[in-house]
Symmetry: C2
Subunit: 210 residues, 2 copies
C-alpha cells in the first residue's frame, strides 16, 4: 500500500519528499558528489524549495546523517541490553536483524563509512555509544562467559568488531565481489542469506577457539 516511489505518492508533505529524496541520493553518491539539483529532481520538486525547507545542502545532509546513524545504532543498543537473552541469542538476533535491515537498504554501511571519514567529529558528540555499550548487559554477560571459560578471547571489542564486520563487510565489498567474480545480484542475495545462519556458528567457534 505504501510501497511505491515518492514521486507517485500523493499525500506526503513536500518536506518529507525532499528528505526521502535526499536519503536516496546521499546514500548513493555521498555528500560531495551530490548536487542539490539531483535531490530536487529525485523529489520531483523545485530546487528553491530545498533551501526553503532546509537552510542549506549541509544542513539537510546533517539531518539525514544523524537520523541514519541513530536509526542504525538503536536496534544494536536495545538488543545488547536485553537481560532476557544470553550471548548466543544476542548474536543470533543481531545477525538476523541487521542482515534484514541492510538487505533493505544496502547502501547504508558504505554511506556511514565514507561520510564519517570527512566528518569524524559529528557523531561522537551526537551518539553516546561509549556509555551505553560499556554498561550494557552484553558486557556483563561477556565477562561472565570469559570467567566461566566459555569464551577464550577476553576483549569484548574483538567480539563486537568481528560480529559487525562479518555482517557488514560483504555489503561494503559488494561492488568488488559482484564485479570481480562476475556474480549475479541474485547469487549475492543468496550468499547473504546463507551467512545469516553461518555467522552465529562462526562467531561461537571463533570466540571459544584456543
Amino acid at each position: 500500500m505504501e510501497n511505491n516511489k515518492e514521486k507517485t505518492e500523493p499525500d506526503v508533505s513536500t518536506e518529507d519528499k525532499i528528505k526521502g529524496a535526499a536519503r536516496i541520493v546521499f546514500y548513493k553518491k555521498g555528500f560531495a558528489a551530490t548536487r542539490t539539483r539531483d535531490i530536487a529532481e529525485e523529489a520531483g520538486i523545485n530546487l528553491a524549495l530545498l533551501n526553503y525547507y532546509f537552510r542549506s545542502k549541509a544542513k539537510l545532509f546533517e539531518i539525514i546523517m544523524i537520523e541514519t546513524l541513530s536509526g542504525f545504532m538503536k536496534s544494536m543498543v536495545i538488543l545488547l541490553n536485553d537481560p532476557k537473552t544470553d550471548l548466543d541469542e544476542k548474536t543470533g538476533s543481531i545477525v538476523s536483524k541487521y542482515i534484514d535491515l541492510i538487505t533493505k537498504e544496502p547502501e547504508i554501511p558504505t554511506f556511514i563509512v565514507t561520510e564519517i571519514r570527512s566528518n569524524p567529529g559529528l557523531l561522537l558528540e551526537k551518539l553516546p555509544i561509549k556509555q551505553i555499550i560499556q554498561h550494557s548487559v552484553f558486557i556483563k554477560q561477556y565477562k561472565e562467559a570469559v570467567e566461566k571459560g566459555d569464551i577464550t578471547e577476553p576483549n569484548p571489542l574483538h567480539f563486537l568488531i568481528n560480529l559487525i564486520g562479518l555482517i557488514v563487510f560483504p555489503f561494503i565489498a559488494k561492488p568488488l565481489i559482484i564485479g570481480g567474480i562476475e556474480m549475479k545480484a541474485q547469487e549475492f542475495d543468496n550468499l547473504i542469506q546463507e551467512r545469516k545462519k553461518l555467522i552465529p556458528v562462526w562467531i561461537k567457534a571463533m570466540m571459544s577457539a584456543r
Copy 2:
C-alpha cells in the same frame, strides 16, 4: 634517509611530487571532495602544472586508482597461488602481509570502497580477479580440504570474504571505534597487532565449525 614529506624532498621529479600528493589527498578525501588546488598545495607546486603533466583531475585520479588497486591485489594473488604453502600458511601470510601494509597506509581500504561505489565499471575491466582466483592454487587446496573434511564450509568465497573482512574491517570502522569508544590511537594499533595473531586462529576455528 627518505623518510620525510615530499615538500622537503629535493630530488624527486615534479611528476612524482604531484602523484604523491594526489595519493595523499585522494586517499583522505575521495575524488569528489578533492580540489585540484589541494593537490597542488600538498605537492608544493603550481596548479597549472597538474594539468600540464596529467590532462585532468579525472585522468590523474584514474592513474592513482589503478596503481592503488593493482598494488593492493598483487600480493594477494601471489600468496594465493603459492604452491609451496598450505591453507594455514596462506592464511597466516595474508593476514600478516596485509595488516602491515594497511597499517602503513590506513586510508586505502576506505578509499577503495568509497571510490569503487561511484565507478564500479573501472576495475572489472582493469583487474582480472576472476580468472586468477578461480584457477588459483588456493581454490584447489580449499576443495581438497573440504573433501578431506578438514573444512566444513564448502564455499571458498565465504572463506575469502571472512578473511579479508576480519583484516580490513577494523580499519574501515576506525573512526567509529576511535570516536565511539574514545580510544587512543596507540590502543587501536595494539588492537590491530593482537588481531595479527588472532585472525588465523579464528579463521581455522570458523571454517572447521560444525
